[in-house]
Amino acid sequence: VQERFGNQSFRMERKTIDLEQGWDYMQTGITKLKRILEGLPEPQFDSEQYMMLYTTIYNMCTQKPPHDYSQQLYDKYREAFEEYINSTVLPALKEKHDEYMLRELVKRWSNHKVMVRWLSRFFYYLDRYFIARRSLPPLNEVGLTCFRDRVYNELHSKVKDAVIALVDKEREGEQIDRALLKNVLDIYVEIGMGQMERYEADFESFMLLDSASYYSRKASSWIQEDSCPDYMLKSEECLKKERERVAHYLHSSSEPKLVEKVQHELLVVYANQLLEKEHSGCRALLRDDKVDDLSRMYRLYHKIAKGLEPVANIFKQHVTAEGNALVQQAEDTATNQAANIASVQEQVLIRKVIELHDKYMVYVVECFQSHTLFHKALKEAFEIFCNKTVAGSSSAELLATFCDNILKKGGSEKLSDEAIEDTLEKVVKLLAYISDKDLFAEFYRKKLARRLLFDRSANDDHERSILTKLKQQCGGQFTSKMEGMVTDLTLARENQTSFEEYLGNNPAANPGIDLTVTVLTTGFWPSYKSFDINLPSEMVKCVEVFKGFYETKTKHRKLTWIYSLGTCHLNGKFDHKPIELVVSTYQAAVLLLFNTTDKLSYNDILTQLNLSHEDLVRLLHSLSCARYKILTKEPSTKTVSQTDSFEFNAKFTDRMRRIKIPLPPVDERKKVVEDVDKDRRYAIDAAIVRIMKSRKVLGHQQLVSECVEQLSRMFKPDIKAIKKRMEDLITRDYLERDKENPNMFRYLA
């Protein structure tokens, strides 16, 4: 509205309008407006009418006192609304109900806004100066307040009931007028005049309560009737519908609150019953590989605080149970069957564990979206059963044997290169779950030594590849010795070449037998017992010759001969045909005795060779009671006893020209465990000293827990073992107990 007349010095004479007169005129305008709003035939305001009305107000406000009627006009402005509301609006609303009432309300509200707009234009001049001067609410607000106080306050409760009834109707599947509801709820919002208070207090809180009780009823019957997957489908659908509801007619701020209520009633209250449903709950879904249902379960519970914990827990229990079952299966098979079949079963176990891991990792990544809770659950489950013993073998040993089978020639695994690489990768990953990593390392090392020294390694690349993987996972210290072993072999080959050159240049030194020596760096290789066996003279010469050669290369190293690892090729001059025998050095030493004597007693051999009973029995058994009977034993019983005597079996023959006579290896397990236990004692000592050196003073429990943490990369130390080492360190004056507080320890420099 443009001001046509300003406060200028106009010489024009203005006639004073008195209040009653002026108001009468205004009433005509107001009446006209009402008629338009009522839908009665009434032309719209034209600009002249509008201007006249506006000017009337203007004049009445700018007249000189006592004819300045601003206050009165302000009051009459409000009264105009009040009158209209009381006489027309309220009665019209009160006579209607439910949906009809809602429609009427929407209409009346819309009308009211129009009325406010128009009237405030007419009375605009009041807004400019009067309200500011008197700090009064502006016209717009006055108008709205009238509606709020007289209409809204009267009816909002009834309206709310009607709306909620419609909402529930829609929930039951009936069609409702969504646009109507939107308009009604907009009133609640607008009536707040910038605040959401009215919407929240007068509508939303009731709507939420109602929704909660609605879903509570539904949930209580669904939980009885429906399977877990069906219930979840319904829940998912309900949530979707409620979100749509918000989008269509509720205020957006209601969404999180409504969703929370629905989730609570459907998913939180009955969480336990739902997940634990006997034939269709989480456990059953996992058992039956119901990937889609599990994904849905994840989606639903993901948004609920701590909602995933029970699911992850059930997942962990399930995986643990599956793992335990595999272990038990292997255990049962092992106790029921012969040793060699049992060991195959153990290899099968590792395969199955790998498969189990692959299977459930897919679940973690796909169903459970790689959520940390599920990664953790999987890890913890594997840590439980991967550390169980099967038929006396620790998991560390089983895993090492498994690797050996893949890496050795003629191993039980005949796979393509790719498949081998893949398997090795998976094996290394499994190692992460095994707490006795140092035990694995030791078994692995022992078996690696056999592969390297007896040329049983199938593929150098694979050997190096697994070492790289182990290094990545467990650190350089884990693999440094093993790498040293592999390098030693390479160096040994070079060394052998030099040796052969040396022999070429010194024909007098030649021992007369083809000799290959592998020099090993002591620190890298497992420790071997070496006995003072009396070697046959031919071999003694070999040793001397090599020593002579070695001293030309280096004077500062000492050679310790490990005869137990040597191999000999002997020509057996049997009656039927000569056969080459591939035997261990010890076996050769026994056989060569028969070059000078036909018959020897057990004791003869024992004294001549200077071996232990245990070793000698093993040797003689392999030569006289096993598959190839190179010696005949008298009496020909199945086992060797100290009263037996032996003779060269000239009648021996075989269709092959060369045979290998295996010497069953001594059970290394006991020694490995002993060695590892010894290393652990040193490791614990070192950890305690390291910690105390840096902390100087520390409480017992803290020391123990830091110790466990530091050592956890390689093994899980026994608390008692730590205590024992601490006692030892106290005796050795590395630590002392604090005089005042017996639970504190001090480092003694």
């Binding site: 017992h700 008692k720 006692e727 106290i730 005796t731 639970n743 320890f745």
Partner: protein, 228 residues
């Protein structure tokens, strides 16, 4: 603080200076007459060539005091003397002890024993006495631990009257277990703490996660198994 017998011989050579010190030190100034009688008593039991009271002499002393040779009161006397070597009293140690007890005759010494026992059993002294008892049994240079059998005897002497049940059980345990062939000072003191802090035989306050010596953890475990 271990002195070999050679060193103790040295000390007894410079006897004049230490005698003078004895005269000047302490709140109770021994008169020269008292000191003479103390020395006289010493000579009655001492071995003339070594100038020490040796095990034989101690046995005789015990017999004269009418106290068993293995009685705790002899150990307490040794403690009072701050005697260093088990089975031997030097002249200085003798003087130190008897002067402190104000005993210059055999009968006075005998009468002083009950009072001495009271003094030692005071909480503030007993821990020190208990530790002393262990050190007293270390006979070799650099010896840090005592064999099980000796420990059992020592426990009986030192703690038998006050903690009969604990001592009996612990001694039984030590005899049947195989993990420990010797006991060190830390374990020895641990047992003392155990008797004082843990109710027996309930042992509800015992927590193996605390810094109790491992031998006590095993001991407690053994008892629990026995009671089950």
């Amino acid at each position: 603080m271990r002195r070999s017998s050679a060193a103790s011989k040295k000390k007894s050579d410079s006897i004049t200076s230490s005698t003078t010190d004895l005269f000047r030190s302490g709140p109770s100034k021994a008169t020269s007459k008292e000191m003479d009688r103390i020395d006289h008593l010493f000579n009655q039991y001492a071995n003339t060539s070594s100038n020490l009271i040796d095990p034989e002499g101690i046995e005789e002393l015990c017999s004269n005091l009418q106290v068993p040779h293995t009685d705790i009161r002899i150990l307490m006397l040794a403690w009072k003397m701050k005697a260093e070597k088990q089975g031997y009293f030097t002249q200085e140690e003798w003087r130190r002890g008897l002067k402190a007890l104000r005993a210059d005759t055999l009968s006075k010494l005998k009468k002083a024993l009950p009072e001495l026992e009271k003094e030692v059993r005071r909480q503030s002294n007993f821990a020190d006495f208990y530790a002393y008892a262990f050190r007293y049994c270390l006979t070799e240079e650099k010896q840090k631990s005592i064999d099980i059998e000796t420990i059992c005897q020592l426990l009986d002497i030192v703690m038998g009257s006050t903690f009969r049940a604990q001592v009996d059980y612990f001694v039984e345990y030590l005899k049947i277990q195989n993990d420990y062939k010797v006991i060190n000072m830390d374990q020895w003191m641990g047992f003392y703490r155990f008797c004082n802090e843990i109710s027996f035989p309930e042992m509800t306050e015992y927590n193996p996660e605390l810094a109790w010596p491992l031998v006590l953890d095993s001991f407690v475990e053994w008892i629990s198994e026995k009671q089950a």
